[in-house]
């Protein structure tokens, strides 16, 4: 695989994580019942949707180049990015158990990726 392919894969993961963080941020401000205006909530939601849309078309492009079961394990990067992203941006707690699960998932996905 070319380095361009990997750059695109990493970019797609970054888009997913960024998009999800915006979405969760939008939903959080809905849940806590504070006086956040609808527009203030709509903005992060729109950013989230925008990033997810970009990710979708990038992913469609990647999918046309390789086998699905080959491409999918690259999502292994996702849980790691998300662990850092969510704890930094959303102040979510990372318990040792959660790290344990994340690492298992990442290792599992990498093995799937390395397999023929």
């Amino acid at each position: 695989m070319t380095s361009g392919f990997f750059v695109l894969v990493i970019l797609s993961q970054a888009l997913v994580v960024g998009g999800q963080i915006f979405l969760k941020h939008a939903l959080n401000s809905t849940v806590d019942g504070s006086e956040t205006s609808t527009w203030k909530r709509a903005a992060p939601f729109a950013y989230g949707l925008g990033l997810m849309t970009l990710w979708f078309f990038l992913w469609l492009e990647l999918l046309s180049r390789v086998e699905l079961s080959y491409l999918y394990p690259f999502d292994a990067l996702g849980p790691l990015f998300m662990a850092f992203g969510a704890s930094m941006m959303l102040k979510e707690k990372m318990t040792p158990r959660l790290w344990c699960g994340v690492l298992l998932i990442v290792v599992g996905l990498l093995i799937v990726g390395a397999s023929q």
């Binding site: 849940v31 999918l63 996702g78 849980p79 690492l103 998932i105 799937v112 397999s115």
Partner: protein
Amino acid sequence: MTPIQSPASVKGALPYWGVLCCALFVTASVVCLKKGVDNTQNLLNTLSWLEMPALVSGWVWAGILCFIISFVFWLKVLKVLPLNIAFNLVNIEHVFVPLASYLFLGEMISSMRAVGIGIVLLGVWVIAEAYCRIEERV
């Protein structure tokens, strides 16, 4: 999963069904998309994104529909669960997708790949079980 007894446990069960539905629709979505782009691969040029030839295929439209449905489930889940936990639980799709690739796309699953899938499943279980414990305390 415990049987539904009280309003509290009903609320507790929702994320799991939501995650499961979300993962299943994502799986259906990617299988449809793969079938779609395979059918139109000869038309699909890296630089021709503005023309969107892939959108011609019915499979791609089915994939997009499934993706939207999964997104609705995802929003419901995300409202209840912290992002970190929801995002990792939905990794169960990494078990479903290779299985679906095998069943519907005729792609092979080697023994090494099966081991990787098993470890992912273990990781998802570790997180789901940890979340159950937090929930019990609350």
